[in-house]
Symmetry: C2
DNA sequence: CGTATATTCTAACGATTATTGGAATATGTC
DNA sequence: GACATATTCCAATAATCGTTAGAATATACG
């Protein structure tokens, strides 16, 4: 086999990964699975897809080895095939945020203040959370919290906040996070909390961003 | 605009990056441009593409804002639009190498021993090169060396090695690198050097891998 | 063992993309 | 200003992909 044919083979293989991430729906599914293992109809519902279409997209992701499937009774549970896949998603989204003006303006339109974190801010947030100077709340569904969450964060799913307001302090800063920069749950939580007089802020990070920055998650 | 429409818009934008990297040819062009600014016919020749097809692919990359173009006299020079693009290429290739068995076996078939470097090995190589315990040679075309190269590496383009053998030490290890794990220039260099009795080895890293690992390059 | 549920498979269609060759544009040179 | 060179534009074709709907499979439950 000559050099050209060999090279074609190599790039062809890498393009399998590229093709897998070339569809907006599949990217959404990847981000969902980055929050933990989920069944087909769970991701289909979250991404507003017909179950059969979601299944087809998951199949493509599986053939690119970005996800793995496992039967769980009547359901089939999909999960990312590694932390590097989650990091790839973060990388793709970051490059898009950096270079695509259309995405930048859209993000600014949706989220008034885009609270991007740098390494230093992440470290200091962690320290303040450890000391209890701020209360970090994870507003995702509790199953996702249990798969992995920011250290010192407590679970406070968006649809439970209203009933659990008394668990939160009125005299300290509350920092809310959810699935990542594209997720709107933390913004909704902050709005709700501010209406009730709390000092709430959101950060753009989700667990995938935190992990991609090389920081450890907590479990249980 | 409702939540679904907003989400669709966001993932749609990220998928522009995904679509750009979904073609093997475009990945090859990206890797070439990660070695430095190049003209259309230069990359077309390197990638064995018709100039018109190369131009079309570069246009797609430009529309995804992964590359930028600049007129240079009669030529048009393309370059990556940032170091993060180079890092994205490395990330995609690494995920592919990690998860795609077909790629793994193909790599093993081509390159007898895949000399992957971890953080520690990179550091110690750098130290040995600094002290002069090993001679690191950059076998890429000299223009690429000038755009950026590993610290303490000297330029020794593949097609000049035969004439410049006397510049190399016979009593020390020689480490050759080129554009990255897919590039065959360092393997050819090592073969040539060993035939002449040198103690030559190759590493898989190119400048993109080195940079993506957070290490600095040298210029000039 | 029959029924309900979750998922996959298959076939079909329309939309998008890769590739090709010819024509057009832009720059530099004589 | 005519010519050569580098690149882009345009139109056409073949290949691939996304989506939809109906049928098939596989497991759990009564």
């Amino acid at each position: 086999m000559n050099k050209r044919q060999t090279k074609d083979l190599l790039y062809e293989q890498v393009s399998r990964i590229g093709k897998a991430v070339s569809s907006p729906k599949r990217l959404e599914l990847l981000e969902l699975l980055a929050q933990g293992e989920k069944t087909v109809d769970a991701v289909a519902a979250e991404a507003s897809l017909d179950i059969r279409l979601a299944s087809a997209h998951l199949k493509v992701l599986k053939e690119a080895r970005l996800v793995e499937a496992r039967r769980e009774g009547r359901f089939i549970a999909y999960r990312l095939s590694g932390d590097d896949v989650s990091a790839l998603w973060v990388n793709l989204r970051t490059v898009a945020e950096e270079h695509l003006v259309e995405l930048k303006v859209e993000m600014e339109r949706i989220f008034a203040a885009p609270e991007k974190l740098d390494a230093e801010t992440r470290r200091s947030l962690l320290e303040k959370a450890r000391r209890g100077d701020v209360v970090v709340i994870d507003v995702r569904p509790s199953a996702e919290y249990e798969t992995g969450h920011l250290p010192f964060a407590r679970s406070m799913p968006l649809d439970e906040i209203r009933q659990r307001l008394k668990e939160l302090p009125a005299d300290r800063d509350i920092v809310a996070y959810c699935r990542g920069p594209f997720c709107m749950m933390s913004a909704e939580a902050v709005e709700l909390l501010r209406e009730h007089g709390f000092r709430a802020h959101k950060i753009a990070d989700g667990t995938p961003e935190w992990q991609a920055a090389g920081l450890p998650l907590a479990e249980s």
